[in-house]
């Protein structure tokens, strides 16, 4: 599977590494060159520096032939916009978007975007952990 990941933060880098090890073709985009240092030296995928809402940058990362796209920058709005570009303009089949704001996640769920909200997931897990006697 060919995957484009936007954002090489902790989650982006971890995800990229996992996918790479599982044998997928990975391209990671980040507008900060230092971010790529989070990737292991054995990473075989592509590192693309640039702004993930720019069509040219996405193309350089191979979005036109990508099977999947994940947006995990630290900005909800950037993730939202990039995901919609991937879905609507480049017709990527599988698009997943991280949104920290639960209300915003709710709205985009309704719109039909596949979203993951770490805020809600994290709070739930902590709630469970605190409930254990």
């Amino acid at each position: 599977m060919k995957v484009v990941i936007l954002g090489c933060g902790r989650v982006g880098a971890t995800l990229a590494t996992q996918l790479d090890k599982a044998g997928h073709h990975v391209a990671v985009i980040d507008n900060n060159h230092d971010a790529f240092q989070r990737l292991e030296p054995t990473f075989r995928g592509e590192k693309v520096m640039g702004n993930g809402v720019e069509h040219q940058v996405l193309k350089r990362a191979g979005i036109e032939t990508a099977d999947a796209f994940a947006a995990v920058t630290n900005g909800d709005n950037r993730n939202i916009m990039a995901s919609q570009i991937a879905k609507e303009i480049f017709q990527v089949k599988k698009v997943v978007c991280r949104i920290y704001d639960p209300l915003r996640q709710n709205t985009y769920d309704e719109i039909g975007l596949e979203t993951i909200c770490p805020t809600v997931v994290g709070a739930d897990m902590l709630f469970q952990a605190l409930s254990i006697k």
Partner: protein, 219 residues
């Protein structure tokens, strides 16, 4: 009309001020507290502190009764989200977004933003039309009518030089509204001849542009 504006930069400020003077009810949303305070000094109650992309803020702003929401922050992604949340959650009838990167126009349209305005594109068109030499520039799009206003300059090698307008095969759905020749402003009739370096203003459909370009031999 009740209008909500997201983004208290210069555009937001002048827009609010203008709309208020036209008698509309306006609320400007600005997330930065220092900036919001400065704006409140000028605009009083018409400013609310909050992030316009947050549903909470839009709720507080009474988005459910807003007629229009205008997103004019400096970031396209923020403007996109403001409009989408306003429409999806609050069913605001009309969403208008400022678009800094003209390349995002198709995306915004696909995602249901009613109107997107790109200052970059508008300025580019105006500058291009001021440049010397042959050119064919889209000055403005009349979205409702599906028409474009274009300005073309007649190159010296144009095949229609010396011909009268009624001798030229113009595309269907195209009107030549105006010819500027040096200092002269001409409202053309069928008898008007075309000359080299004429600045011709045409009103036409997008589909007819290519044909007009070819007919005039324009760039």
């Amino acid at each position: 009309m009740y209008i909500i504006i997201g983004g208290g930069g210069d555009v937001g400020y002048y827009l609010t001020s203008n709309l208020l003077s036209h008698g509309h009810e306006v609320l400007l949303l600005e997330k930065n507290s220092a900036r919001q305070q400065a704006l409140s000094e000028e605009l009083g109650q018409a400013v609310l502190r909050g992030d316009a992309c947050e549903a909470r803020t839009l709720e507080e702003a009474g988005a459910q009764r807003a007629d229009v929401i205008i997103a004019v922050t400096g970031e396209d992604e923020d403007n996109l989200v403001i409009c989408q949340v306003a429409k999806q959650r609050f069913h605001v009838a009309r969403t208008i977004a400022r678009l800094n990167n003209p390349k995002n126009e198709v995306l915004f349209q696909k995602l249901g933003i009613d109107v997107s305005i790109s200052p970059t594109k508008s300025i580019l068109s105006l500058i291009e039309s001021e440049l010397p030499g042959p050119h064919f520039v889209n000055i403005m799009t009349l979205k409702k009518a599906g028409l474009e206003i274009v300005q073309l300059s007649v190159p010296s090698v144009s095949p229609v030089i010396g011909k009268h307008l009624n001798q030229i095969n113009l595309p269907r759905r195209c009107t030549l509204a105006l010819i500027i020749r040096g200092d002269e402003t001409i409202f053309p009739s069928g008898e008007t001849p075309v000359m080299a370096n004429d600045e011709v203003y045409a009103l036409l459909t997008r589909e007819s542009e290519e044909e007009l370009r070819r007919t005039f031999g324009a760039a």
